[in-house]
């Protein structure tokens, strides 16, 4: 049977951090629970093993037949910095084209209109199906097919004039990316509960508005991580543009290697640059994900700083028991 406890609802003071509320009887004022957390000995061992392996790897690379002094010198070389800037530029522009066109294609593909969905399907099929390098070469050499770019009265010029390496790379990378982004957006859209669409329709919203206001924002949570992948992939894929002489990071590495014959060193330098760019993007992605996670769980995921603090505390032996643990 239950203790017939009898408490006035209003005058029970909230139990603060001190856990000492004067108006309660002494038996009933525990502070925050102090407990010995599960000791993760495995974690300590794991951490040591990982660090050990890392140290070994670093030593092996330091001893390797790689002239690290060359790497050190070249990392600040303006040629590479400039190449990195070009890489960044083409990546951002291409991704903008890819994301916008990809979202449109995804909506088209899911449309009940058979013309729209067939066009989208064909587009995705073709652009996903052919190698990017071939696409780059095709755009750059479009004059093999169309000698002039003729937009009626507005504009007419020789195709070779228009198709600079930058334009060709941008078109090829952007249009190709759109095909991949279309599939990603489609998955995101399909992941949104159909009840959401129904609710929006019931409010009198039309298809387009429902998509923009209700479905896409919720789809973002699913769309962003693979888009981050695509972005970072694009940093590297854009290097294919060196085939048409677009002077980005990879081309600089190649040129350096072929001049100095320090092939591996050149590649290590550009790898470090790529890593730096990737890191910047990853951080951006993290905060974007955090933004779109609003409303999806009761509390926002911690920022890396909060996370670090929490992880450090999980190594400590005794601690106040806090957040949710599963």
């Amino acid at each position: 049977m239950t203790d017939p406890l009898d408490k006035a609802p209003a005058d029970v003071p909230p139990d603060g951090g001190q856990g000492d509320s004067p108006r309660k009887d002494t038996a009933a004022h525990p502070g925050p629970i102090k407990a010995v957390p599960v000791r993760h000995y495995g974690r300590w061992i794991g951490a040591v093993v990982v660090l050990g392996l890392l140290a070994l790897l670093v030593r092996a690379f330091a001893d390797a037949q790689i002239q690290w002094s060359v790497v050190g010198e070249q990392i600040t070389n303006g040629t590479f910095a400039w190449g990195a800037w070009e890489t960044l530029k083409i990546t951002v522009y291409s991704m903008v084209i890819g994301v916008v066109l990809g979202a449109i294609l995804a909506v088209m593909r899911l449309s009940p209109n058979p013309v729209l969905s067939s066009v989208a399907w064909g587009y995705i099929w073709f652009f996903r199906g052919t190698p990017v390098l071939v696409q780059i070469l095709l755009w750059f050499n479009l004059s093999l097919v169309f000698a002039y770019l003729d937009l009626g009265f507005i504009y007419k010029d020789e195709m070779n004039q228009v198709m600079t390496p930058f334009v060709a790379a941008l078109l090829a990378l952007g249009l190709n990316e759109a095909a991949y982004m279309a599939e990603i957006c489609r998955a995101g859209i399909q992941s949104v509960d159909s009840g959401q669409t129904e609710a929006a329709h019931a409010l009198g919203m039309k298809g387009g508005k429902t998509m923009r206001r209700i479905v896409l924002p919720q789809a973002m949570r699913v769309i962003i991580p693979p888009t981050g992948n695509e972005f970072i992939n694009m940093l590297k894929t854009s290097s294919l543009a060196f085939a048409i002489g677009y002077g980005e990071l990879f081309l600089r590495g190649r040129e350096f290697g072929s001049r100095t014959l320090a092939i591996m060193e050149g590649y290590i330098v550009i790898s470090l640059w790529y890593l730096a760019l990737t890191t910047v993007f990853s951080i951006g992605q993290y905060y974007l994900e955090r933004y779109y996670a609003r409303g999806s769980s009761r509390s926002l995921p911690p920022t890396p700083l909060q996370r670090l603090r929490k992880q450090l505390s999980s190594f400590r032996v005794q601690s106040n028991v806090g957040g949710v643990k599963v």
């Binding site: 509960d193 959401q196 129904e198 409010l203 209700i214 409303g295």
Partner: protein, 250 residues
């Protein structure tokens, strides 16, 4: 206001509605009761054209749902026209379907701003009034996941009311509310009926049906078994099926 004639609906080979006939008058609170799986939700969804009927005629306010009649031919409506029809029909779902990426306030403001093109200020003001009416003025800034089940359903009702519809469809609106709040919601609904609102309410709250309802239909297995004034149907059921159902419920 709503007129159903021999409405049929099946999903693939499963027949869910097997010829529903009923009529809902203006300013009427019309209750739909029946056991689980009898097709109550499905019928409500047909009225809002979320499902397309397979046979019969269904009209709201004199207009066929989803079709235009010209001569003796039926023409399917365009999306724009369907959306316009739905605008005047508010719907509260069994499972809320709040927009999880928007706060309670934004949920309520969404349709007036986006569909009617109202200014944000006006929509906001009405939204806050409606949230206040359902007792959630202080939760306006919360996201749906930060609300308890009952709180979520009340936001959903406010959201539907924000479009100032002529007809409101409620699919078990109180099933996730705790009893204390049911009364408040019923007051709101009664107030709406006095303002000229027609309501169709799927409910298991026989008390509510008796008190507020102007008409009641008992459905089972896709057909209307018995219809009449709630007092009559609940107090003096004619059919065996109705009797056995009510005996367990009351």
């Amino acid at each position: 206001m709503v007129k159903a004639e021999n409405v049929h609906k099946s999903f693939g080979h499963v027949k869910v509605l097997k010829g529903i006939d009923l009529e809902v008058a203006h300013r009427e609170v019309f209750c739909l009761v029946g056991p689980s799986g009898s097709g109550k939700s499905t019928f409500l969804r047909c009225i809002n054209h979320l499902e397309q009927i397979n046979g019969g005629r269904l009209s709201v306010d004199g207009q066929l749902v989803g079709y235009r009649e010209k001569g003796d031919k039926l023409y399917e409506l365009k999306e724009k026209e369907v959306a316009a029809q739905r605008r005047d029909i508010g719907m509260v779902f069994q499972r809320f379907n709040l927009f999880p990426h928007m706060t309670a306030l934004a949920n309520v403001m969404e349709a007036p701003v986006q569909v009617k093109g109202e200014s944000k200020a006006v929509a906001r003001e009405r939204a806050l009034r409606l949230l206040d009416r359902v007792g959630l003025a202080d939760k306006a800034g919360n996201y749906p996941t930060q609300l308890s089940g009952g709180q979520q359903q009340r936001v959903a009702i406010a959201r539907a009311l924000a479009m100032e519809p002529k007809l409101m469809l409620f699919d078990e609106p109180t099933s996730a509310l705790d009893p204390e709040l049911v009364g408040e919601v019923l007051d709101v609904m009664r107030g709406l009926a006095e303002d000229g609102m027609t309501m169709i309410v799927v409910t298991h709250e026989m008390g509510f049906a008796r008190e507020v309802g102007d008409a009641l239909v008992f459905m089972d297995d896709g057909v209307v078994v018995e219809a009449g004034h709630p007092r009559d149907v609940l107090g003096n059921p004619q059919h065996e099926r109705t009797k056995s159902f009510l005996s367990k419920v009351l």
